[in-house]
């Protein structure tokens, strides 16, 4: 075998195209597949551990559908998902490592793009010099960044901060929402299949070949411990194909999604606490993740609550708190009650607008969600925000057909150099794959005063009703009310200070 190491081999794709890959001894191997890289590393060729899949017609049909009509990374006119534009395809191409072709020779396999280089560790990621050579080139599985033990091995420059964790949570929720919107379920979302790059806030979902595709025979995957929904774990005693066996679906994805978001934001697992279930570790884990799973922050049952819990879901604001309660209290054993990916995406985006930089230069998390302006304290380090720096903008949209009647649509807590985008200006836009990220306005503090500067908005008016042209600013003083834009969808802003 050794003489084959480094040899370039040729694979034939389903359409007859031939591509090259480099054979390596002991290639990276997962539970299902092993991976060879292209000579220029721009794509990977993956074969299955079990070569009998060559004859698995269900697998082939599923992958054909995934590559084609369900593919959100390919525009519709190039054979991708229905309604997918070039922009949307481009957006999701950066969020998924979506397979591009089926290999038929030398055996059944798939081709996927290689993920961007920022999702691989460089030469200098660890504080422990001898670990660097082992980590170099390894992919940035989420686990590296959510395990307190592993974080200690990483350089601070690799770790990002609370804001980057929130950014990646939004990205993940959006990617899952996109799959679910098409009726697809990932079926094995986990800290291994979501790669993250905290310094850039990037997040990419991988292992797309085991998706559950509507109307097609489901893949025989169970998921990864810690992310398997309780009902799936509980019914593994039934054989595959038994109607009592609950298989991965979008509902079980929603459990895994909530676990990942919780891990990103709070750096711990929502179900792993001190509660003792059994002397037998296998049984103990089965019960603690399955039939007896209990949220460590359960509001009434404190039997799994770590004694030294400091930052909790309450510190994330009421919106995220209530979603976590739905996911891990009401919805833990009742899949229908779990928040959808769309709900997560919305709540996370709204929480993003409440981010505030911590003034303590030594604060590890650097940012926090300032959800309570009457008590503006960083939950991570305890630093209180100065009174003059607490300013909230309440955004209101006009109720359709009822001129002069407004309903609250969002909130912003301001900080110096905060950028504002279309969704802060117009009621009918949402920050998703369709909306551009062009700067519309920004907020800054100058000579002790807070200003909102119009960068690219037409028809902004001042609290006094005067037009605020581009390049000019509105003074944000307590009680001020003004229109972001005179457009019918233009939002109304109310300014309030902390007490």
């Amino acid at each position: 075998m050794a003489q084959n190491n480094g040899r370039t081999a040729e694979a034939t794709l389903a359409d007859g195209t031939k591509i090259q890959y480099v054979i390596k001894d002991n290639p990276p191997r997962g539970g299902m597949k092993y991976t060879y890289f292209a000579p220029d590393k721009s794509y990977v060729v993956q074969f299955y551990n079990d070569p009998s899949v060559t004859n698995d017609i269900n697998l082939r049909k599923r992958i054909e559908a995934i590559i084609g009509k369900y593919n959100p990374t390919l525009p519709e006119q190039k054979g991708g998902a229905r309604g997918n534009s070039e922009t949307m395809a481009q957006y999701f191409a950066g969020k998924f490592c979506w397979p591009t072709a089926i290999v038929v020779q030398p055996e059944f396999g798939i081709v996927s793009p290689a993920y961007p280089s920022n999702f691989f560790f460089g030469e200098n990621a660890s504080v422990i010099p001898e670990l660097n050579k082992d980590m170099k080139g390894k992919d940035k599985k989420s686990k590296w960044f959510t395990s307190p033990k592993l974080r200690k091995y990483l350089k601070e420059s690799e770790l990002g901060d609370f804001r980057s964790m929130l950014q990646m949570s939004i990205s993940l929720a959006r990617s899952v929402r996109r799959m679910h919107q098409a009726g697809l379920a990932h079926s094995d979302l986990s800290c291994n299949n979501v790669l993250i790059d905290p310094p850039t806030g990037g997040c990419v979902v991988i292992d797309i070949d085991s998706l559950v595709v509507p109307g097609l025979y489901p893949p025989e995957v169970m998921g990864t411990t810690g992310y398997i929904a309780p009902e799936v774990l509980e019914t593994t005693k039934f054989p595959f194909g038994d109607p009592k066996r609950i298989l991965p679906s979008s509902y079980t994805d929603l459990h895994a999604l909530a676990v990942l978001i919780y891990e990103y934001l709070l750096l711990r697992h929502p179900l792993v606490g001190p509660k003792f279930y059994s002397n037998d570790p296998v049984e103990d884990d089965f019960l603690s993740m399955g039939p007896k799973a209990l949220f460590i922050e359960h509001p009434k049952d404190h039997s799994n609550r770590p004694k030294d819990l400091r930052v909790t879901i309450k510190d994330l604001g009421s919106e995220l708190e209530s979603l976590f309660l739905r996911a891990f209290v009401n919805g833990l054993h009742s899949p229908d009650d779990r928040p959808t990916a769309m709900e997560w995406e919305k709540a996370l985006v709204r929480s993003w607008d409440l981010l505030h930089p911590c003034e303590n230069p030594k604060c590890r998390e650097k940012w926090f969600i300032m959800h309570d302006i009457s008590n503006p304290v960083c939950p991570f380090c305890g630093t209180r925000v100065k009174k003059e720096d607490v300013l909230r903008l309440t955004l209101k949209s006009q109720i359709r057909g009822k001129t002069g009647q407004w309903i609250k649509s969002g909130e912003i807590t301001v900080y110096h150099n905060m950028p504002l985008f279309k969704w802060h200006v117009y009621a009918n836009t949402f920050p998703d794959e369709k909306t551009d990220r062009d700067l519309m306005a920004y907020i800054c503090k100058q000579n002790g005063q807070w200003l909102l500067i119009n960068y690219n908005i037409n028809g902004m008016t001042s609290p006094q009703g005067n037009l605020v042209p581009q390049g000019k600013a509105v003074l944000l003083s307590n009680g001020a009310v003004f229109r972001m834009s005179g457009d019918p969808n233009g939002l109304l802003v109310e300014v309030s200070c902390g007490k």
Binding site: M1, A2, D25, N26, R29, G31, N49, D50, I128, L131, K133, D134, M135, K138, K141, K143, W144, S147, P148, K149, L150, Y153, C191, N192, M222, G223, T224, T225, I228, T236, K237, R268, V272, G273, P274, F276, S278, N279, D280, P281, V282, E283, D284, D285, F286, P306, K307, D308, L309, R310
Partner: protein
């Protein structure tokens, strides 16, 4: 916050008898190096796996106690002497008894240990071996995988220890390297998956090509 992560103890039982002298023992040393390097790049393994090495020649001893991967120092090993495989199993049971945390109220116990045995011969301490095999049945291990390397390895003894017996036709550096790569993949899978219903063992990745699973 307190750490509630469960540890995965991994015991490597390595044959260092005289027949391993020369290339094989060097390949084993390289294999351990590669194994460590691979596992340190795997976040799950780095978080949960703890490694111990037990060697056996005319006697058996634990050369590295169960150690966190980051603290693990490659042991000094050399080949010579007979094949006290029974002694090695005895040492394994003693070490596991002492080192593996049991689950109790207030303490997250360890996973059942994963055991890899590599040998190129057969036990020379047969009565100790037979007794050890008897006693081993009472101890709960996650998975015991025995690998018979080279043409002199006798799988019938290994079959008494575990159902998972692999055969490697040669003791070449290449084959031993593959063995260690497979060990690291198995540890990686165990550390992340253990996706079994209670009582089931971990599902291990398929052995590399060139290996024969003894039926």
């Amino acid at each position: 916050m307190a750490d509630y992560t469960r540890r995965l103890p991994v015991y490597l039982l390595l044959d260092c008898s005289g027949s391993m002298m020369g290339e094989p023992i060097e390949a084993v040393k390289q294999g351990i190096k590669a194994l460590l390097s691979e596992l340190k790049g795997n976040p799950q393994a780095l978080e949960t796996a703890y490694l111990s090495v037990i060697t056996f020649d005319s006697t058996a001893r634990q050369v590295t106690p169960l150690t966190e991967l980051m603290q693990f120092k490659e042991p000094q090993i050399s080949a010579g002497g007979a094949t006290a495989m029974g002694g090695a199993l005895r040492v394994l049971m003693e070490c596991a008894e002492r080192e593996v945390h049991k689950s109790t109220e207030g303490q997250k116990g360890d996973w059942r240990p994963l055991v890899f045995i590599l040998t190129d011969g057969c036990p020379t301490d047969t009565s100790a071996f037979n007794q050890a095999v008897q006693d081993l049945r009472a101890v709960k291990f996650g998975n015991i995988i025995a690998c018979a390397a080279g043409s002199n390895a006798d799988t019938t003894y290994l079959k008494q220890i575990t159902e998972n017996v692999l055969m490697m036709n040669t003791l070449s550096a290449g084959d031993l390297a593959k063995f260690f790569a497979w060990v690291s993949a198995s540890i990686g899978v165990s550390a992340k998956a253990c996706d079994a219903a209670p009582g089931e063992n971990f599902e291990l990745p398929p052995p590399p090509k060139g290996f024969v699973v003894v039926p």
